[in-house]
């Protein structure tokens, strides 16, 4: 079995090479099938690994392909780490990836760049697999950069639109800031442990005895915080989150795959993978918790008033990522990964559903112009409803279990943390149901032409929706709280096989846990009813004119002016500095030096050339004079 492991990333890479090299010779209609076929191949191999892992037969293995870099003490190999954690992520990536490839065949069929699109998509899957499969930080970093590149390429896929290009650049630059942190953290690990290999680093780290068990050893704090900066960029946390909402410029399936289900969870994967280091740095965990919570709440507040269907989902993604970091900050690595899993299904489903709606609306993304789509698009509606209920945390859908796991952790830490988590969850419920009601309920508010055009999406799009909906319903059952079933918590024990630290045994009594669960649930249901009254009964529509908004609405609608603040605080000063450099330092100082040397050569050439008179006697006199001078210097002086 293990000898086929290299095929898992190789197949998407092959797909990318075929599609990009023979771009012109491949008919547009077949490129999607080639790309999907490659991912299906990888998925089947991953599936066989997953079955092995579920049966508990997968010992953590390192499969070495070849030596990559050998220089001095540094020995670096391209090798894959196969254990329960990486196989789990590989399953999500190839599984959801395959569904989204299939969906894209239909969604992108009339785009002229469809072959290019699928080649990027395959390259993305390859990089993402490299990221989670690598057995050392350098391979992970290679994948990390690869997914950043693919994200850039796909956000700017319709490169004729300058706004989209700007969004792509923003995403890339924001990610670079994070990547620098990751790189520094990685180098610090090397200076500390003399290795990039996970196994060596973690073995050595666990042998370090922390002199101060309640504080951090400084070096661990530095390493973990630098790695976390990398995660901030990739997983869109405060202060590096503003690229993700703009990334919605890309095609909708891309938003589903890269900017919701897989790439943005790379940060979670990285921290879960390095959990041994993080467990030794409680201060970092506190910082992660704070940033995660702040992100979850801030993004949810912004999501409340957005009117673009994809923007709402984008802020929802940022908010859910905040939830995952909240879990990790509380030491619940498995709860974080669990939420990654359920989120991958329901958020991919939401995005694909939104894509289906946008497809039917002929490219319209404004929810104020939708409404009443329920009857025209029943499959999209049902699946979208399931996903919305899941993200709101209605049992027995997957979101309920994963969110409950995080909230239980929070309550154990302190009731205030639980309150903040519930607050964020309620905001989530509010904006998700607001979007659902505005899109699918009530009367249609678009143009006559759009109304005539409305239709359910073709089979290639609805089947992935149905499959994702199925997993949205069932994926929560992998970690049923032990309150309900004795010996639940299957997923944490599964991950423990990959050295993911289990959170400390719960001190909560079963009744407390049940009370918390039902309190949260009652609040969520009441929020759903409130939203129903507002948006369906009273038919409140978000104002089209910004001047009509109240102050708070305005604040939220304009995303708390974070983009403007960044613009004023960072972009503008850098722009001014660049202008100054270009107009003064470059033109006045550097250019002058360069021009001066040129002019000096020209001037001297113009004057000295007269020495070349063509008169042989003159040359001879110079020669003799020269010899005389040399002799004089040598002999006399």
């Amino acid at each position: 079995m293990m000898e086929f492991v290299w095929l898992i990333p190789a197949l998407p890479l092959l797909g990318f090479l075929i599609l990009s090299l023979f771009n012109k010779y491949i008919p547009k209609s077949t490129s999607g099938y080639i790309a999907s076929g490659m991912i299906l191949g990888s998925f089947l191999i991953v599936l066989s690994l997953l079955l092995k892992a579920i049966n508990g037969n997968l010992e953590p293995t390192i499969v070495t392909l070849f030596d990559w870099i050998t220089a001095g003490d540094l020995k670096l190999s391209l090798s894959f780490q196969l254990d329960n954690l990486s196989v789990w992520f590989m399953t999500i990536i190839t599984g959801v990836g395959f569904l989204i490839h299939v969906y894209s065949i239909s969604y992108m069929h009339d785009d002229e760049g469809v072959t290019r699109y699928f080649s990027y998509l395959n390259l993305f899957i390859f990089s993402m697999l490299l990221l989670v499969m690598g057995s050392n930080y350098v391979v992970m970093f290679a994948g990390w950069e690869g997914v950043g590149l693919c994200s850039y390429l796909l956000i700017g896929f319709w490169f004729k639109n300058q706004n989209y290009n700007d969004a792509a650049k923003k995403a890339f630059i924001m990610n670079r800031i994070g990547d620098l942190g990751f790189l520094l953290g990685m180098l610090l690990i090397y200076t500390q442990f003399k290795s990039f290999e996970y196994s060596t680093v973690f073995d050595q780290a666990s042998q370090i005895i922390n002199p101060n068990p309640h504080g951090d050893s400084g070096i661990m704090f530095a390493i973990t915080i630098l790695l976390f900066i990398g995660a901030m960029g990739k997983s869109a946390q405060i202060p590096l989150y503003t690229w993700l909402p703009d990334a919605m410029a890309g095609p909708t399936p891309v938003s589903a795959l890269i900017h919701a289900a897989t790439m943005v969870t790379a940060g979670i994967y990285m921290i879960a993978r390095s959990n041994i280091l993080y467990s030794m740095a409680p201060c970092t965990l506190d910082i992660i918790y704070t940033i995660g919570t702040a992100t979850a709440i801030l993004a949810a507040l912004i999501g409340l008033t957005q009117t673009d269907i994809k923007k709402v989902l984008a802020y929802s993604t940022v908010s859910q990522l905040g939830f995952m970091f909240m879990a990790i900050g509380l030491g619940g690595y498995s709860a974080g990964v669990f939420h990654v899993t359920t989120h991958a299904f329901f958020k991919a489903l939401l995005f694909l559903g939104a894509g289906s709606v946008i497809h039917a609306m002929g490219g319209e993304q404004d929810i104020r112009k939708m409404g009443g789509l329920m009857k025209k698009m029943p499959i999209t509606f049902i699946t979208f409803l399931i996903a919305t209920l899941a993200i709101a945390g209605i049992p027995p859908l997957s979101g309920f279990f994963s969110k409950d796991a995080i909230l239980a952790l929070a309550f154990e830490a302190s009731p205030i943390k639980w309150g903040l988590g519930v607050f964020a969850a309620l905001l989530t419920t509010f904006y998700m149901f607001r979007m659902l009601y505005l899109t699918f309920f009530g009367e249609f508010r678009g143009t006559e032409h759009q109304k005539h055009h409305l239709h359910e999406s073709p089979l290639l799009m609805t089947v992935p929706l149905l499959v994702l909906a199925f997993f949205t319903v069932v994926s929560g059952f992998i970690e049923v709280p032990h309150v309900f079933i004795h010996g639940g918590d299957w997923f944490s024990h599964y991950l423990a096989g990959a050295h993911i630290a289990l959170p400390e045994a719960s001190h909560l009594s079963e009744s407390t846990e049940l009370i918390l669960m039902f309190t949260a649930l009652a609040l969520v249901v009441s929020v759903i009813i409130i939203t129903y009254v507002i948006y369906v009964k009273n038919k409140v529509l978000p104002a089209t004119n910004e001047a009509d908004l109240s102050f708070l609405d305005k604040l939220s609608y304009n995303k708390f002016y974070v983009d403007e603040i960044y613009d004023a605080a960072i972009v503008k000063p850098i722009g001014v500095l660049s202008n100054f450099s270009s107009s003064f330092i470059e033109k006045q100082i550097i250019d002058r030096f360069v021009n001066l040397s040129g002019k000096a050569v020209q001037f001297s050439g113009k004057n000295i050339r007269f020495i070349q008179s063509g008169d042989v006697n003159t040359y001879a006199i110079f020669m003799v004079l020269g010899i005389v001078i040399i002799l004089f210097i040598n002999l006399v002086l």
């Binding site: 008179s613 063509g614 001879a620 006199i621 003799v624």
Partner: protein, 97 residues
């Protein structure tokens, strides 16, 4: 003893001045030969002085090479005369700025 050296210096200087002051290319050639042979003479003298025959062997080689070189020089000189009708160095000033 140093008479030879003085003689050679005088011969060499005569040759050098000849090259510098004469306009006739043929005479300039002869002056160059004079300089060359002044050096040859010096080599022979030092060879005797140090009782080392290799200096004299050198001189034979130099004379052979000089003969070949002067042949080419004279051939060029003949071509110059055919083209310009004179062998004055003043007529050869075209290669300049």
């Amino acid at each position: 003893m140093s008479d030879y050296i003085v003689l050679c210096c005088i011969l060499f200087s005569l040759g050098a001045f000849g090259v510098l002051y004469r306009r006739n290319i043929l005479v300039m050639f002869m002056s160059i030969e004079l300089m060359l042979n002044a050096v040859n003479l010096l080599l022979v003298y030092f060879s005797v002085l140090h009782k080392d025959p290799s200096g004299q062997v050198f001189v034979f080689f130099i004379m052979a090479v000089a003969a070949a070189e002067i042949t080419i020089g004279l051939a060029i000189l003949v071509m110059i005369y055919r083209h310009l009708g004179s062998i004055s160095i003043d007529n050869l000033k075209k290669l300049k700025w």
